[in-house]
Symmetry: C2
Amino acid sequence: VKDLELPPLDGVLASLGDYVAIPSDSRNADGGTMRRAADWIAGQLDFAGGRVEETGGHPVVRGEWLGAPGAPTVLVYGHYDVQPTGDESEWLSPPFQLTVVDGTADGAIARGRGASDDKGPVFLVVAMLQAAIAQRGGLPLNVKFLIEGEEEIGSPHLPGYVREHARELACDLVISADGAQWRPDEPSLSVASKGLVAFTITVEGARDDLHSGRYGGTVANPAQVLAAILASLHHPDGSVAVPGFYDGAAPPDAARRAELDAVPFDEERFAAQLGVTETYGEAGYSTLQRLWERPTLEVNGVAGGGRYTVIPHVARGFISCRLVGDQDPVRVLAAVRGHVERLGARGVRVTVEQDGGAVPAYRIDPAHPAIAAATEALRAVYPGEEVLLAVIAGTLPATTLFEQVLGAKTLFFSFSTADEKLHAPNEFLRLRRVHEGMRAWDALLASMADGPHRLQPVRLPDLAEAKA
Amino acid sequence: VKDLELPPLDGVLASLGDYVAIPSDSRNADGGTMRRAADWIAGQLDFAGGRVEETGGHPVVRGEWLGAPGAPTVLVYGHYDVQPTGDESEWLSPPFQLTVVDGTADGAIARGRGASDDKGPVFLVVAMLQAAIAQRGGLPLNVKFLIEGEEEIGSPHLPGYVREHARELACDLVISADGAQWRPDEPSLSVASKGLVAFTITVEGARDDLHSGRYGGTVANPAQVLAAILASLHHPDGSVAVPGFYDGAAPPDAARRAELDAVPFDEERFAAQLGVTETYGEAGYSTLQRLWERPTLEVNGVAGGGRYTVIPHVARGFISCRLVGDQDPVRVLAAVRGHVERLGARGVRVTVEQDGGAVPAYRIDPAHPAIAAATEALRAVYPGEEVLLAVIAGTLPATTLFEQVLGAKTLFFSFSTADEKLHAPNEFLRLRRVHEGMRAWDALLASMADGPHRLQPVRLPDLAEAKA
């Protein structure tokens, strides 16, 4: 196979600029705008029969190039929707106008909503594949595409769509062009993501808000009971105090601890970047160990009453737990419920209600051939650098969906970087990632097609079971 | 002095209906509407030179009948502004259309915003005085009027106005037609109101909200720190845990405890009316003792983050303390600050900021001649019933203002009742209170003018000092 001649950066950025110009904010844009973005990326998939399909919500973009019979099949996943812009006055250039800036602290960048999450990382794969087919007449393995339009709003229609089209989407591996390199300093591969269970604790007292003078001291105060409950969820040492919470969350072994300890990680710089005076968390673990290997229980918000003199009749705490290993999100929620019940608050009603889905932690075996292939591909692009096995401390429900319905593991292979202001004003993509990413994807597919890291066939699970 | 022939109820209600029809909601109404309400009640004060005066905010209504030289002078205080209606769909009749309903569980009532707070209680005094002058040619003592239009929004312009006009407002006693009888079951006089100091505890962490996955477990969570701080403010037995909080709050003595224990008070009915399963508060005191005699610290609200997976960068708790006896609101706030500082939360910034004014508790000596006169007046109207010495557990900053600037104590003498849905939809006034109130005010003024309960002269404090 001859070396790929990479498409010139100017042309890639011009096309990406057209794509970014379509404000496909899935939370706020109208159906026509979302459809234009879907049509645009489907149009780039001409070589794979690119098309737009209905889902009941924002449509998905599908396509498949199946010209390598007998070779493995990968499903490239990504999304064409973007986050809202946030406060537009904070943007240094218009959010939907891709703007190249040279010589920033991050090198040359292209700024715009979706540049890094996820229009840029998807488009660089597509542009690479276009070039590969043009120059070589084909690809080394079969490639299917599933590019959704609702990732930023929790993919509400994706599970139904994937179940309905499981046979068409069957593959040996999902490769996600969504995700991110952990840091710009070294190449990394994510081998795990955390699970998630979120819930609301509601404390209800009197029928209505009561005047804090005319009724002060007579009835239990829901805001105070809520505070006591929330305070009881952690020990003073930062560990979670809910009995049973840690079941299934085995501490990292000595080897993994040593691995993480070897990762260059500047605590002070990390804290300064976030604007805090020091890091904080579960005692007995380093910051990186906590972030990657330990489950967390974070209070996401509190609400009730206000800055007026009442005893609020209701107060709510919003909580999410990120899970690791074999923690069962359903049992975690039950453990919290039991803990709250045992506190036995008087004179109020306390309920614990789940919010959204319960997602277990996800993990791809570091010994999976996809990791070996990806490591080799990254080494080819970043010679002499160690490839870090990282963890996405966030939660990616699609990984569990693909495993359950398609029987396929998901490899994260994105050339976004986690610090590129994803979801914030002034999102950007490092320009160097465009060609780095193309070369890495080219190497990855070649490595997965044949040789020691060739993908093993995956059997589609029984659909009846998958639909259960 | 011949007995007063009370004005017929129909006529009083017709006039009050005109007054209620002016939607003088001081938070939302335009200046013209507020002025119409001021003009209306000023027009009723023709016998006292009623007029409207500017304050910089909503105007005040002033007037004075000074035809009893040598007799004491009282200043009648009230307000012509009303609370917002709240959800109009909850009203059983239009809020600004006074609607008479017979045979309710509360007897015959007049429903409408302001009927009980404070248009009705003020107007019944005015209508009684009109009748007295018409029938008797004069009053037994001098009466001044100060009816403000900003009571429901914290009287922001009242202190300045009263200081500017202290000489004109000089009196031997303020009688407030605002306030309320504690219950419909027995006559009561309030001899104290609680002090108030309110503050916001702000906990700030990172510069921005952080993704609860990508940063979970790495930094202190402001919502969790806030919960720990708020939980630390009370002991498990319901008492306040802030060292120094109770300084100056002497527990009620055995006599006062016995007095309160003798008040018929149905705990279960009280709880059921509020919609709670049980009452709750500081251990060692009955509900009524806590309400009337003990200071409280209530969390009025909590805010921060929301039902989305972040570590909020800021969380706030809104707190108000109601004070008794000699508690110093400034020292109470300092005690809370010290307590919070000693907790020493790590990785966050915690501030405690005062909200609004710091008002000490207010008290009128039960031996004050005004209390004796008022007791006698109530006994005349409610023969055979004990007059309960009650406490307004709310805070009335105007009382402290009048004492500081005019040197005069304030007697609460309102014929509103505390259960008449003040500030809520379907506010009402018991019709029987109209004539009861008129007879009581007539008896009160006579008793204060001459005889054993004649008011003692009050000296206007040095104005330079009062303005300091």
